[in-house]
């Protein structure tokens, strides 16, 4: 990635962008395909779907948004964001245990 200043580097970057474009399209197909083959285990399904989405977002953030070669001040900002985001999701997961065991009016549906 470098500092994006030299034309040679930029031309290399463009090839990387196109490769990532293909990877993102394939990633989308993979996610949809996983839906159609219907994995019985819900937890595994969710884990795989989020994993594929995370890889795709890493490619977008890392390369298209140049986060792999960014200045410290941006990393510091995002580190704070990541901290609060993780805290928010942590609280969410914690709160999930507070739901009473749900029973349906009409039995098992």
């Amino acid at each position: 990635m470098g500092d994006h200043s030299s034309p040679e580097q930029l031309k290399k970057d463009i090839r990387v962008y196109l490769a990532i474009f293909v990877a993102l399209l394939v990633g989308t197909v993979l996610t949809v395909w996983l839906y159609y083959i219907h994995i019985p285990n819900v937890k595994v399904t969710i884990a795989i779907a989020l994993l594929v989405a995370s890889v795709k977002s890493f490619l977008v953030a890392g390369y298209f948004m140049h986060l792999l070669s960014e200045k410290k001040v941006i990393y510091a900002t995002l580190a704070a964001t990541a901290f609060f985001f993780v805290a928010l999701m942590g609280l969410t997961l914690w709160a999930m245990n507070d739901f009473p065991k749900l029973t349906s009016v009409f039995g098992n549906q």
Binding site: F21, T31, H38, A49, A53, F64, M65, I74, F85, T92
Partner: protein, 313 residues
């Protein structure tokens, strides 16, 4: 007064100001969408039933591709500006705007499908059975399990309170369209118009079923059935108030679509003023494109999570 650091980096940050600004903004956006994702998780785990298969997956997949393509074209626009190819960059920017409009257009079609798609419930199982016989020819277990949303299940308390004889063994819900495909019809509106009957076109059996071997019944001829208003306790389009799923679906996708529209407006402005900027201050224009691009990639990033969460899981 000239705005400082539009091109030259500030000494302390090492960046031009707009870049620090957009990242701070995106950080706040992460928390905004994060809060809504958190709401989604809690609503979903707290729900006794969560509908599946209500969205059109091929259309959603295609729209995901459209957005991904626009993310690539905007970064290509920026790279070409860096290389000094203004005309090529302009083409890429134009393509990005077209993709944005395409995405919003497809989303509008999807929304429109939901706003004209209805669910009805009957006062009791006898009227429901009569409806099934008229619409599908019989009222056996296969028909009942093939009706799209028959296991929606838990009746809302208001309906139970109003109708003491309820609940029937299972709340039979039938989905379909009203004649003429009107938007946002409710029982209240129909009653205000003193309507005595509605003409309902029920969906084919097994529509949207995820299980293999349950293909939509193409033979069903979408027969029109006249239903008396007095036989209905519930009628609703697939609107946010339909259920929790649609509430969070429209909140998340609506906010996302607002971001797409906002980004498209900014890029349209940069498209039409581009040549003037490029002649006057090419580096500043390139930076503007970079900042708009960063926002645009973020919008793409949000959709990368929204698509599997709302359409597939």
């Amino acid at each position: 007064m000239e705005i400082p650091y539009t091109v030259t980096p500030r000494k302390d940050t090492g960046l031009y100001n707009a870049k620090v600004g957009i990242w701070l903004f995106l950080a706040s956006e992460v928390m905004l969408f994060g809060a809504l994702f958190s709401s989604y998780v809690l609503l979903r785990v707290g729900a006794s039933f969560w509908p599946e298969g209500l969205l059109n997956i091929p259309i959603g997949t295609f729209n995901t591709w459209v957005l991904i393509t626009s993310s690539v074209t905007v970064v290509m626009c920026w790279a070409n500006l860096k290389l000094g190819n203004f005309n090529k960059a302009r083409v890429y920017l134009g393509l990005t705007i077209l993709c944005a409009l395409g995405f919003v257009g497809i989303k509008t079609v999807e929304y429109n499908d939901k706003f004209t798609h209805y669910t009805i419930r009957f006062t009791n199982d006898v009227t429901a059975a009569a409806f099934l016989k008229e619409a599908y020819g019989n009222d056996d277990e296969a028909t009942r399990s093939g009706v799209f949303a028959n296991t929606y299940g838990v009746p809302d308390s208001k309906v139970v309170a109003k109708n003491k004889e309820l609940p029937p063994p299972r709340f039979l819900e039938i989905t379909g369209h009203l004649e003429g495909n009107p938007h946002f019809v409710t029982l209240k509106k129909l009653k205000a118009k003193n309507a005595e009957t509605i003409t309902f076109i029920p969906d084919a059996l097994n529509q949207g079923k995820k299980e293999k071997g349950a293909a939509p019944d193409a033979a069903h001829d979408h027969k029109k059935v006249t239903v008396k208003m007095s036989e209905l306790v519930y009628l609703s389009a697939y609107t946010p108030q339909r259920n929790t799923y649609f509430a969070i679906y429209f909140t998340l996708t609506g906010l996302h679509a607002a971001h797409v529209i906002g980004g498209a407006l900014v890029m349209t402005y940069l498209f039409f003023t581009g040549r003037r900027w490029w002649q006057k201050a090419p580096e500043q224009y390139t930076n503007r494109i970079e900042v708009a691009g960063l926002f645009w990639h973020f919008v793409d990033l949000v959709w990368i999570f929204l698509f599997p969460v709302l359409y597939l899981l």
